[in-house]
């Protein structure tokens, strides 16, 4: 399917139109349970995201990057992940983490300012979220090289924003992916902004998807507010990867509905109208209409989903806030595999200094 949409011709994969109607021939064969689970995760993401913003305003959460509007990109991409696959995320990823089963309490704990929250639970193949833009894409490609060397049939996912495509690391990762035919699924959430810089000033290329042409593999643009389109493209790319068919670049065309982070004020650089315009394409509402059209949605069920989400979020906040801050030793213990004599001295000195509240 991916090859059927040529970015150079301005073609974009969309399965659900803005009113939630599925395009004939493109509708995936997904069971009711799958569909509903995706919706539940999109809702949980939205509720969990709103809660984080609230906590931040109350001083209970640090600087936070909202996922509002990215629910389809995140849940759609993560829904393509199979057992054994790996994921190398960037930093705007609540929906990915939740879909992959990362504890929301941990995710909150991290954004509250604790390294411990970033310790991926054993068994989950999620690399820590990356803040240096585009740097993680290389990790994903390297993991793909390792999969090839070790003859493992798995897919490695990496996500990043439109701004990330300007960094040298993005280029080097794309080029390595092409040369080594790595089993990587490279998903760009093109949300039209890198903080204040609009997509049009980020690159003169008409689409981000067409950048794959520079590296000898396929690129496709999909509607990033259509969870079925994102999932379909990511799933096909992942299957291709596992089958030894090499990498794929997916541009999920979407919009950042919130501020860049809680330290940002988007009103400074973009018009309300754009935002209102994109509200019409809300990914959650669109998917809800689709479920309703298939008889998989009604008010009662929605109420349950919302309540379950609210409940899960409250529990996660309580859990995260009840955790003690890191032991002083933890700040030293993971610098090296074993603490050096100098670090032991520094730790002892630090702990002594902290006695009696003095630093």
């Amino acid at each position: 399917m991916i090859e059927r949409f040529d970015p150079l011709k301005g073609e974009r994969l969309q399965i659900l139109d803005e009113s939630g109607r599925a395009r004939p021939g493109l509708e995936p064969a997904l069971g009711a349970a799958d569909l509903r689970r995706m919706y539940e995760r999109m809702v949980l993401t939205r509720v969990g995201d709103a809660k984080a913003l609230k906590l931040q305003r109350q001083g209970r959460m640090g600087t936070f990057a909202s996922s509002l509007g990215h629910e389809a990109c995140q849940v759609g991409t993560a829904s393509a992940v199979a057992a054994g696959d790996w994921f190398f995320p960037y930093f705007r990823e609540m929906g990915v983490y939740l879909t992959l089963g990362y504890p929301l309490a941990d995710y909150y704990h991290y954004w509250m300012g604790n390294e411990a929250g970033l310790r991926t639970p054993d068994g989950l193949n999620i690399f820590p979220l990356a803040i240096p833009v585009a740097s993680q894409v290389l990790h994903a490609v390297g993991a793909g090289m390792a999969a090839n060397i070790r003859k493992l049939r798995l897919a490695v996912f990496s996500t990043f924003g439109d701004g990330a495509t300007s960094e040298g690391d993005f280029h080097e990762a794309m080029n390595y992916a092409g040369v080594f035919r790595t089993p990587t699924v490279l998903v760009c959430y093109n949300n039209q902004f890198a903080i204040s810089v609009p997509r049009s000033r980020q690159t003169a290329s008409a689409t981000i998807a067409q950048k794959a042409l520079a590296y000898g593999f396929a690129g496709v643009q999909v509607d990033g507010n259509d969870v079925l389109a994102v999932r379909a493209a990511a799933t096909e790319a992942a299957e291709r990867a596992r089958a030894g068919g090499g990498p794929t670049l997916i541009e999920a065309y979407t919009y950042r509905m919130g501020d860049h982070t809680t330290s940002d004020d988007a009103a400074r650089y973009r018009s309300k109208d754009d935002v209102l315009d994109w509200e019409k394409r809300d990914p959650v509402a669109r998917f809800r209409l689709y479920l309703a059209s298939k008889g998989l949605w009604d008010e009662a069920w929605e109420k349950g989903v919302q309540e379950a989400a609210a409940d899960a979020v409250e529990k996660a906040v309580a859990a995260a806030e009840s955790r003690p801050p890191a032991a002083v030793e933890d700040l030293f213990a993971y610098t090296y595999a074993a603490m050096t004599p100098e670090l032991k001295d520094e730790l002892a000195e630090t702990e002594a200094g902290l006695k009696g509240g003095r630093r």
Binding site: G62, T63, Y110, M112, G113, N114, E115, I131, P132, V133, A134, G163, A164, S166, E167, G168, D169, A194, I195, S196, V197, R201, Q202, T203, S263, D264, R268, Y269, P325, A326, V328, L331, F332, T335, E342, L343, E346, L347, T350, G353, L354, R358, R359
Partner: protein, 324 residues
């Protein structure tokens, strides 16, 4: 006028750009957004998008492009959004910015200024609390400057902009809005390469810069109550360093403590201590001590205070020096 460091830097940029149209500003979000700390607020309206340039998200690109701009006579000012994101540009800085003049025996040079928010203590995400000045102080050809108050920030930036050498101008995030001060309206240079005595004292010299200067002042007040008179030397220009000023103070006091937030190992404190030991050994009544961040990765907000040097930690070190 009374203003914050953010306003002082903004004013210095505006006045110099007004005076000389060779100055252009480039970086991520420096235009309409005015920079994530609003340091460049209003400049795009005043000087236009041709001189206040929002770049794509690529630091090596911004610094490398600035080098080329110098060839055509411009004086670029590059903003790196946080010091933790300067590393992608490291190759351009060490291989070209610092070497162009020597490589061409003076035919070409890169008289540009790289500005970036610097240091911890603001409860930020990972990579937003870096103070890796020592990486740059060891690069021949670079000048590294850190202001410690609004007035000095303006004066030093004006001097950096007028310098014919490339300057890395580190802006202590923690001081951006911490303190307001009367800043002269006129754009007057504060000399590069000159430290200043921020507080006089006869018993012990504390060498500090940037956000550590207020920390040193607090400790000095505490110690004054204990009859220990601390002299604070604010380096201001970290490289090339004003060794004479440091040595003069230590020859007077006979004791020195270096204070910085970067980890101890190979931090600038090592250079300060080594220089004192080399050139003022016989004046020393006690070992030169270093009060610094530990040799660990800067902790996330909830544990940041464990890392960040405090007046108490400095005071303890000074007492140790006094009691030696």
């Amino acid at each position: 006028m009374i203003m914050t460091m953010v306003q002082a830097i903004n004013q210095a940029l505006a006045q110099e750009m007004e005076r000389d149209d060779r100055y252009v500003l480039l970086g991520e979000d420096v235009g309409r957004d005015g920079g994530v700390f609003r340091v460049t607020e209003g400049l795009v309206d005043r000087f236009g998008a041709e001189r206040v340039i929002d770049t794509p998200l690529a630091e090596s690109g911004a610094v490398g492009a600035a080098v080329g701009m110098c060839a055509l006579g411009l004086r670029p000012i590059v903003e790196i959004q946080f010091m933790g994101f300067i590393y992608p540009a490291f190759n351009q800085i060490i291989s070209h910015v610092a070497r162009l003049r020597n490589r061409t025996r003076g035919r070409f040079a890169a008289p540009l200024v790289i500005r970036t928010p610097y240091g911890a203590g603001v409860r930020a995400l990972e990579h937003h609390s870096e103070s890796t000045e020592a990486l740059f102080c060891q690069i021949p050809g670079l000048t590294v400057v850190v202001p410690s108050d609004p007035a000095d920030a303006k004066g030093l930036l004006v001097a950096a902009l007028r310098s014919d050498d490339p300057v890395l101008f580190l802006e202590p995030t923690r001081l951006y809005r911490a303190e307001k001060q009367d800043v002269p309206e006129a754009a007057v240079e504060a000399p590069l390469g000159r430290a200043r005595v921020a507080r006089e004292g006869k018993d012990v010299t504390v060498v500090a810069w940037g956000a550590m200067v207020p920390v040193a002042r607090k400790a000095a007040d505490t110690l004054a109550a204990e009859k220990v008179e601390v002299e604070i030397v604010d380096l201001r220009t970290l490289a090339p360093m004003d060794s004479e000023a440091v040595l003069a103070s230590v020859r007077k006091t006979g004791r020195a403590v270096v204070l910085h937030e970067a980890p101890k190992t190979c931090g600038l404190g090592a250079e300060v201590a080594a220089t004192i030991g080399e050139r003022a050994l016989l004046s020393l009544k006690a070992p030169v001590l270093r009060v610094t961040g530990q040799d660990i990765i800067v902790p996330l907000p909830k544990s940041e205070d464990v890392y960040y040097p405090s007046p108490e930690r400095l005071a303890r070190a000074v007492r140790r020096a006094m009691e030696f």
